[in-house]
């Protein structure tokens, strides 16, 4: 390759003389306006304005007033005899000619481009019949990676924190003479539980970002948009909207940030509003728990049905939004480069995995930790009965009073008990807290007993943690063949939670007037659709502004309430 020496970096691109003359005039005219001269490189601004960039023109006119309009109109008029309506074409063409001249000096290209490996891969991957099955298979692998493969590690993190780590904290406090105090309760039930709520996400997110990094860095993501655009366009979205939607099955937060890959604001907001209907992985533990209690034989089917319901609701809401809030905004054009395939580098993949997961940890830790402590505090504060601080029956706590106050909202849906409304309240802050709150509201006593069981020493604990990691890796590896072999496994039944199961069952039966299973189904649909967690809401505000954040918060609550009402009251009408 030969290096090309440019005479002067500032004068790299030269346009034809008539254009250069007008550019000079424009630069002089624009330079006379300080507000513009400070803000923009003037030659660049002049080129953009001549080319017809309407957004930039509006900005320049706003800063510079009618002088800009007049100068531009005069230049255009003088150029009209040379280029007519095609001034923009001439500018682009001359730029490309310049690039071409440089490239010819530096590059030798074969006369007929050879059929590259990239082309051969494309022939298969975008094949008429194979394209969509390959796409769906890859999405399935991503989904399984973030669920089944990550699950053993999630369990390991959870077991480590609730077992040995809680044990150490208790032992340390006991040695300091604070055993059984409110401080121990705060540390174990508030802080460690809160940190656990964040850390259990790490394996899931690492798996998700691993898959995404492979798809993006290899170049497949553009093909996915190419293959899916017809379908997504029919839904009023963009082929690129599919990526945030898939990410949404992992977590709404990165999914909302992933809408940045879309070019038009309309597509970004529309996609961002629909993303939370994709059932995020934090909701999965709720499904697993409730489905295992009420529908043990069809748990897999119920969970799969919920995911499907989310997709259908997103489609329906998308159509509604397109005809209402987005009525005057046509879809953006689909103009997308399909880059050559590249082999992702381990370093690049790891960096994306780590940076994105770390960003989540930074954003989520404070919020989730704070909620855990607030919930602990509400649970610790006695408002009735004779309990002391940090030693009060849950039904006499401040938390029960608050939950009871909002419970009537959920009564028509079949789950008007304070225990479930309390879980939904904390679920606004983070969906994964729903299960732990249910555990606290229904069965605090049992869980505490479990934590105190089986005294061990520090060394045994460390061995246990290491052994747990090894067996988690083993479990994850065992799941891998299933990822490729497409088998839907039913979730394992939680034997440790039998006490909780009985309490939850009794609670739903009582709040629904004997239609416990139906109320549980309505509860699951509600959890699927209602207001996304606080972190996702914060992401939506960051990306789309406060107005759209409120649309998301209120809109989804209403949608979820109506859908759960339909399930419960509809089911009862059908005689369930």
């Amino acid at each position: 390759m030969t290096a090309v020496t440019l005479a002067s970096p500032g004068a790299a691109v030269r346009y034809a003389p008539p254009i250069e003359t007008e550019l000079e005039r424009l630069v002089a005219a624009l330079g006379a306006i300080p507000a513009l001269a400070e803000r923009y490189p003037l030659r660049w601004l002049a080129v953009q304005l001549l080319e017809g960039d309407e957004h930039l023109l509006a900005e320049a006119e706003g800063l510079g007033g009618p002088a800009v309009t007049a100068a531009l109109a005069a230049s255009r008029e003088r150029l009209a005899p040379h280029y007519g309506e095609d001034l923009d074409v001439a500018l682009v063409d001359q730029r490309y000619r310049f690039v071409h001249t440089l490239a010819r000096q530096a590059l030798t290209r074969p006369a007929a481009p050879p059929l590259t490996l990239s082309d051969r891969i494309d022939r298969v991957v975008t094949h008429r019949w194979l394209g969509i099955p390959i796409f769906l298979a890859l999405m399935w692998v991503v989904f399984k990676l973030t669920t089944d493969v990550a699950a053993p590690f999630v369990d390991w993190v959870d077991a480590t924190l609730s077992g040995p780590v809680s044990g150490w904290a208790t032992a340390l406090l006991g040695a300091a003479g604070l055993g059984g105090s409110w401080l121990e309760s705060l540390l174990v039930d508030g802080v460690i539980a809160g940190v656990g709520g964040v850390l259990v996400f790490v394996p899931v997110l690492l798996a998700l970002y691993f898959a995404l990094a492979l798809l993006e860095d290899s170049g497949y993501m553009a093909r996915a948009a190419f293959v899916m655009d017809r379908l997504m366009h029919a839904l009023g979205l963009h082929g690129k909207s599919f990526l945030p939607m898939v990410v949404g099955f992992g977590c709404s937060v990165p999914a909302i940030y992933a809408t940045r890959t879309l070019d038009s604001r309309r597509d970004r907001i529309l996609t961002g509003l629909l993303v939370p209907f994709m059932s995020c992985s934090a909701r999965l533990p709720v499904y697993v728990l409730i489905a295992a209690i009420f529908f043990p034989a069809q748990a897999g089917l119920v969970i799969f049905g919920l995911y499907l319901t989310g997709i259908v609701v997103a489609i329906v809401i998308g159509m509604l939004l397109r005809r209402t809030l987005f009525r005057n905004q046509p879809p953006a054009p689909f103009v997308l480069e399909l880059p050559p395939y590249r082999l992702p580098t381990p370093r690049g993949v790891w960096r994306q995995m780590w940076e994105r997961t770390a960003a989540f940890l930074r954003k989520a830790t404070t919020i989730i930790l704070a909620t855990s402590i607030v919930v602990w505090l509400l649970l610790a504060l006695p408002v009735r009965g004779g309990g002391r601080f940090a030693d009060t029956p849950v039904e006499q706590s401040a938390f029960a009073a608050l939950s009871g106050a909002v419970a009537p909202v959920f009564a028509p849906l079949g789950f008007g008990g304070w225990e479930t409304s309390g879980a939904l309240l904390t679920g606004f802050v983070a969906k994964e807290v729903v299960v732990s709150t249910l555990g606290q509201t229904y069965a605090v006593a049992e869980l505490e007993e479990a934590a105190e069981a089986a005294p061990t020493n520090f060394g045994e604990d460390l061995l246990g943690i290491a052994g747990g990691l090894v067996s988690a890796t083993g479990d994850a590896l065992q799941v891998l063949p299933g990822v490729i072999g497409i088998t839907l496994e039913t979730p394992e039944e939680e034997t440790a939670l039998e006490g909780l199961a009985a309490a939850v069952r009794a609670g739903f039966e009582a709040s629904s007037g004997g239609h416990g299973a139906l109320a549980a189904l309505a509860f699951l649909v509600f959890v699927l659709l209602y207001t996304p967690c606080m972190t996702a809401v914060a992401a939506a505000r960051h990306e789309f502004g406060s107005r759209w954040m409120w649309v998301s918060i209120v809109g989804q609550f209403v949608v979820a309430w109506l859908a759960a009402l339909l399930v419960f009251q509809g089911g009862r009408l059908l005689g369930w």
């Binding site: 923009d88 655009d229 689909f334």
Partner: protein
């Protein structure tokens, strides 16, 4: 439109053509120009997505994908 002029979406697979004009609104035209669909440029329709839309063309040695409704705004002359 002369006899050999068609719109980009009407090309057969692997057919060569030369870009003549780009219609649509100014923003769309700027976008396509920036992506290299400049009048006088050679294009080949290289692929069609499994569901029949969008299409993929090779221009300036790289692959560009666009919807048929957008390709209809690009007038080309069959080689």
């Amino acid at each position: 439109m002369s006899v050999s002029e068609v719109t980009l979406d009407q090309l057969a697979r692997n057919q060569n053509a030369v870009v003549r004009r780009i219609g649509g609104d100014r923003e769309f035209r700027r976008r396509l120009l920036a992506m290299g669909l400049v009048p006088g440029e050679q294009v080949i329709l290289t692929a069609v997505a499994p569901l029949g839309d969008p299409i993929e063309v090779t221009v300036k040695g790289y692959r560009l994908s666009l919807r048929k409704e957008e390709a209809r705004l690009v007038v080309v002359e069959r080689a």
